[in-house]
């Protein structure tokens, strides 16, 4: 667990809460040293403040994504800034708006880490893709496609019920672990990122189809 935050009081408080919940957090206070800390600690999850001295949160997020699919949860003061969308677009999995309740933060973090808990030996097909759920591998004609765990979960959720239309809220609940409706931009942005990786032509998707006014569904196998 890596916490990137420049506010010492908040960092210390996060430390107290996270340790109580059984996490082992390490801390870094500025963006410039974030990558070194990330490589050194190899965390399971990164808590990333968007406003940082030095390299800002967006850039840190981009740098981490370039190397790894480690879940990233952004901490932000405002939910409606372009920064949030930008963060999601460069690969952050989720965000949480200050001030948040500790339980909410922990729930969100657990949702991101959950995949490790229940390994299954499923093989799914969606379009011309093969999904090995246990091995966390997606391939097209034997060629592997690298996805982040979140993108993988999203694709797998759609693929498990081919043809069924998922509302954005349903996906938020199933993939992100939200119990109440939240920001549907999360879904939109990550569907775009997923399409960019798995579709032959992202302009004319065949794997993840949009159902106007409702949500998304998997393309026919």
């Amino acid at each position: 667990m890596l916490v990137v935050d420049d506010d010492p009081a908040l960092a210390e408080m996060l430390g107290i809460v996270l340790r109580t919940e059984g996490f082992e957090p390490s801390f870094v206070a500025d963006g410039d040293r974030a990558m070194a800390a990330f490589r050194a600690t190899k965390p399971d999850l990164v808590l990333l403040d968007l406003m940082l001295p030095g390299t800002d949160g967006i850039d840190v997020c981009r740098q981490i994504r370039a190397e790894s699919g480690t879940p990233i949860v952004m901490l932000t003061a405002r939910g409606d800034t372009v920064d949030v969308v930008l963060g999601l677009e460069v690969g952050a999995d989720d965000y949480i708006i200050k001030p948040f309740k500790p339980k909410e933060l922990v729930a969100r973090m657990r949702a991101r880490l959950r995949r490790n808990d229940a390994p299954t030996s499923e093989m799914l097909e969606i379009g011309d893709l093969t999904i090995d759920v246990a091995g966390h591998v997606v391939s097209r004609n034997g060629t592997q496609i690298a996805l982040t765990p979140l993108e993988f979960d999203l694709l797998a959720a759609l693929a498990r019920r081919p043809g069924q239309v998922f509302t954005r809220e349903h996906l938020l609940e199933q993939v992100w672990g939200y119990r109440h409706a939240a920001d549907t931009r999360l879904v939109n942005v990550h569907v775009q990122r997923l399409r960019a990786k798995v579709e032959r032509d992202a302009e004319r998707p065949e794997i993840v189809l949009t159902v106007r006014g409702v949500g998304y569904k998997a393309g026919p196998p």
Binding site: D7, A9, L10, M13, L14, I16, V17, T20, M51, L75, A77, R78, D80, T81, K98, P99, F100, K101, P102, K103, T167, E169, H180, A181, D183, T184, R185, N188, R212, G213, V214
Partner: protein
Amino acid sequence: MTEAPASPPSGRLRVDRARRAGAAVRHTWRASLQLRVAATTLVLSGIVVVVLGVVLLNQIRDGVLEAKQRAALSQLDFGLQHAADQFNAIDRPNPTSVRSTASSVTADLAGRGSDALSYGVAMVSTAGGDSASTADILPVPSIPTRLLHTVSREQREAWTYAVLTHRDGSREPGLVVGGPVQSDTADYQLYYLFPLQQESQTISLVERTMLFSGLAVVLLLVAIAALVTRQVVRPVRLAAATAERLAAGRLRDRMAVRGEDDLASLATSFNRMAETVEQQISQLRELSRVQRRFVADVSHELRTPITTIRMAADVLHDARSELPPELGRSAELLQTQLDRFEALLADLLEISRHDAGAATLEPEPVDLRGLVSHVLDATAPIAERRGCAVEADLPDEPVVAEVDARRVQRILRNLVANAVEHGAGCPVEVRLRGDEGGVAVTIRDHGVGLRPGEAALVFGRFWRADPARARTSGGTGLGLSIAMEDARLHGGYLQAWGDPGRGSVFRLTLPWRVGGELGEPPLPLEPPDEDAAPVSTEGVARA
């Protein structure tokens, strides 16, 4: 205008088309100064030319005819003298000799005319019946009876215009002069019949010339007027076009200033105005930017410590069972008041974003039935706590509108929570409908309702229905204001209706697309079921 009771569709169509064409002409007339000036010039110069032409023509005609008349009268004098001489020269007057003399005099006088100036001569016996005439002009219908009477009764020379009838039946305008022959031997009247062919030719030539020159003058005047107006109108149109571009946001556009005349000063003043407007706007933009920046900073600076406080409070709250009672209670108070503080801070920041114009929409097509269901799910705990049933009336068909789901949910959550908490009357009914007038959601409660005049106030900031019980019922007092701003952002609006004892209704009306057309909302604001109820108050706060 009366209309046929059942006009056929094609007829109505024609009437419609004519009406539309009429409207188009009226619009062009109102819109084009140049056209109006040209038309006015056409009408006025036309009138002037016609009046001038008529006066001039009359003058010419009178002059021509007067000359003819004078010539005719002197001819008559000569003829009368000649006839009198001839009659007096008769040795032994008897009817036969007198008659033959009359014939010869007539022929003699007629012969004096040239080919170019042929005229008829007639001798009429006063006794009646007996007459002699020459040429091919028939005296009987040609000489008007009134002239005959005048000459014979008053024994003087007289003249008149008449229609001359030729032997072959053709007619033409002419001048007839006549007078009594002064002779003792015979009682005759002599008449000259002058055709006015030449004169009428002259006059019609003048007429034609004047008509054409008049037309030419009018057309030239119209052309000049159009040209001159164009010179004035062109810079005005240019100014209008520039103003239009300024209005469209291109604040740097200016008019070209040429010369030093009035139009140049118009351009200069216009440009100065544009300059000022641009400065003001950029100043306001700067202010708005600073404000937005400030809100963002405050937001960030406040939220980080609050997050820490919040987490600390949560840790304390979770451990309150291990604390002494007063410390435990303190932790609880800390927790609940932090909730309130956070809600207030969030609402304040939201409304200041709206004020700064920094709130942005993220519209996407959404089935509003889903939104309503979500809101009802989310508010179910409050409703349960209050023991209040919330009934939804949703259409069977999807109601897919392009809205910012987050904001619309917030509006509805606010309205439903309000109805449950403040309405104090159940059940709360939520109704959703959409038609060509837009999409509408009404939230109805059967509680205390609103007092007269309050419906317009509920959207005000920090407004409370009852100041006395204000602080106990929670809420920040900004919820409805934010809801109103959110509705406006979509191009829709929020309205409230209420009546003491009958409850209240809040209606959200949104266009199908952001900023789209809005018509009559698909749901009534006032509940239709209790029409017999007393005076109602209706407050409308429109965008």
